[in-house]
């Protein structure tokens, strides 16, 4: 299989796609990098030129930036904790033999097929709405004041909505991992005197580590770029309370029409994603080895 000629042939075959992928990645990145050092506002297109690090400095000087950074990490971390913990519990639950198991599993997976803006609208108008929402109806039923979710707890609300969307994904991956655990191992543990919690702690959880790692890595990639849910519900507000880094970039690019700053924000986001990825791989990467 790996004679010299076959290796050469393999490289030749792979080369076009590698080159294409490289261009695909490098060109947008290079353009973003280029604009991030330019003065380029759509409202004054005649004034252009190099500005050095001014665009970056603007971000670091802006108090909103640090809040947005914190919000981004809080969103990623919060959703990861909620989806992994609930995902494991739901997976354990729907792994039990029950009638209508197939239908049940489809129901559990359904939220994943709802588009982000639709999901966010459903939550905003049907659940969290202060007059028409289900939650306010429940609160009033108990004689309490309805909670103004999007005004008082905007970040928590966004985390809740995004968790609802991503929970099926985590559940699905964890469920398949759970089903690959041999029942003899659980029976052996039972014979060895391990109760339900000990079995979960010593047998099931270690078996799930690889699946949990996969869930965390994949979700992190997508969660760092969450935008639609915020756009549809809080618009980053009130004030900047629920502005994340992607949303802040959007505000610079579309609201302020400042392409230079938006590009600088984009580069910062890329660096942030790489830092997160580095720590994730260092902390979790070894779980992926056999």
């Amino acid at each position: 299989m790996s004679t010299q000629s076959s290796r050469l042939a393999a490289r030749m075959m792979v080369a076009p796609s590698v080159v294409l992928l490289l261009i695909w990645m490098i060109v947008p990145l290079a353009m973003t990098l280029y604009y991030s050092f330019r003065f380029y506002r759509l409202l004054s297109p005649d004034r252009t030129g190099w500005t050095g690090f001014t665009n970056y400095v603007w971000f670091f000087d802006s108090p909103d930036f640090w809040l947005a950074l914190f919000n981004t990490l809080a969103l990623v971390g919060g959703v990861l904790v909620i989806t992994v913990v609930l995902g494991i519990l739901i997976a354990l639950l729907i792994d039990q033999p029950v009638k209508g198991q197939g239908a049940l599993r489809i129901l559990v997976i359904a939220p994943f097929f709802v588009m982000p803006p639709v999901a966010a609208s459903i939550w905003e108008n049907l659940f969290m709405h202060p007059q028409n929402g289900l939650f306010s109806a429940i609160a009033r039923g108990f004689g309490a004041q309805p909670i103004l979710f999007l005004e008082q707890y905007p970040m928590w609300s966004v985390i809740g909505i995004v968790s609802w969307e991503w929970l099926p994904f985590a559940t699905l991956i964890l469920l398949t991992a759970l089903q690959s655990l041999s029942s003899e191992q659980l029976e052996a543990a039972e014979m060895d005197g391990a109760g339900p919690f000990a079995r979960f702690r010593h047998i099931i959880l270690p078996h799930l580590t690889r699946a949990i790692t996969v869930v965390i890595l994949i979700q992190t990639i997508f969660l760092l770029g969450i935008f639609g849910e915020i756009f549809t519900t809080t618009q980053g507000g009130p004030g900047s309370a629920s502005t994340t880094l992607p949303y802040m970039i959007f505000k610079q690019a579309i609201a302020a029409k400042d392409i230079g700053r938006a590009a600088a924000g984009g580069i910062i986001a890329v660096i942030l994603a790489n830092i997160v990825a580095y720590f994730l791989m260092r902390g979790l990467g070894r779980n992926l080895d056999a």
Binding site: S182, E184, Q185, E187, A188, A189, E190, M191, D192, G193, A194, G195, A198, H202, I203, P206, H207, T209, A290
Partner: protein, 329 residues
């Protein structure tokens, strides 16, 4: 301390009675082998004793104590699974220590017991490896180690050698037998391999379709099978059964004669050799005998008979006689 008493133990899965009702006494220190064809309920019976399945009715007593509804952990039994069921993320040491840890034993005592078990099973050099880095035989020994550290009232083995190659199987068979000699603990061993049953057991329980066909010492089953099923199941190659006129001569509906109890040379039966297998120490011949049908013959040493040869055969050993219902006369 491991007498196990089953009284009218019944197990059904829905409508299907897998085990319609079994009475069996296993004495303390005995090596009992459950043997039978696949699907005969032998594994289910073992799992009932282990507590991994609920008994539908009847009772299981362990050490004179009713254990029918006790959870597996409280029955004081240890089980070795067919797949070994080692915990892949734990080292050998942690695997063996797991039941001790679950029992809340202190660390020093745990270590001492693990070391002792590892020494007995030649695992001392492998204690810090993971199961994935071990060979089949070593994994098997770890599974046994995990069972012996608990000092259980009885060991349960569920086809423990079926994943090993032939040479290793013979070795592990001896090791398990020696373990039984040194521990003197009750062992219940499930297998479909009658060679394992014959070589290891103090007592064999032959099961068929959830019923006990016969219980007895290996040679007792070989020499005095109670019925056609046991006669056909114990012994390899299997016993020849002859019906019709030849059987009537012996005043029986069916007669059985083992392949090793037929002599080649002179005799009343004549036939054509079909398949012949020459193993060196033995020769197995399939002979189509006129008026009787095909007979398997096991002749010691080399017999120069080829496909198509005509040879004469004579019964040279015990002839087993059975009535219409398949029971021994």
């Amino acid at each position: 301390m491991g007498k196990i008493q089953l009284t009218r133990v019944r197990k059904s899965f829905g409508e299907v009675d897998v085990i319609p009702g079994i009475d069996l006494t296993i004495e303390d220190g005995e090596f009992v082998v459950f043997v039978g064809p696949s699907g005969c309920g032998k594994s289910t019976l073992l799992r009932l004793i282990a507590g991994l399945e609920d008994t539908t009715s009847g009772s299981i007593e362990i050490d004179g104590r009713d254990a029918t509804n006790l959870p597996p952990a409280r029955r004081g039994l240890a089980m070795v699974f067919q797949s070994y069921a080692l915990y892949p993320h734990m080292t050998v040491r942690k695997n063996i220590a797991f039941p001790l840890k679950m029992a809340g034993m202190d660390k020093a005592e745990q270590d001492a017991r693990v070391e002792r078990a590892a020494k007995v099973l030649n695992l001392t050099n492998y204690l810090d490896r993971r199961p994935g880095q071990l060979s089949g035989g070593q994994r098997q020994r770890v599974a046994i180690g995990r069972a012996i550290v608990r000092e259980p009232a009885a060991f349960l083995f569920d086809e423990p050698l079926s994943n090993l190659d032939a040479a290793l199987r013979v070795g592990m068979r001896q090791e398990i037998s020696e373990l039984h000699q040194s521990l003197k603990t009750t062992m219940i061993y499930v297998t479909h391999d009658q060679v394992e049953a014959m070589t290891m057991a103090d007592k064999i329980v032959v099961l068929n379709a959830g019923r006990i066909e016969q219980v007895g010492a290996p040679l007792e089953l070989y020499n005095h099978p109670k019925n056609l099923f046991v006669a056909g199941f114990i012994g390899s190659p299997r016993m020849n059964f002859i019906e019709g006129a030849e059987a009537a001569k012996h005043d029986a509906h069916t007669i059985g004669i083992r392949p090793e109890h037929i002599a080649v040379g002179e005799g009343p039966w004549e036939g054509v050799v079909g398949l012949s297998e020459h193993l060196g120490s033995d020769s197995f011949l399939k002979v189509a005998v006129e008026g009787i049908g095909p007979l398997t013959v096991r002749a010691p040493g080399e017999v120069h008979a080829r496909h198509g040869d005509r040879i004469r055969l004579a019964p040279a050993g015990k002839i087993h006689r059975f009535d219409k219902n398949g029971l021994a006369l």
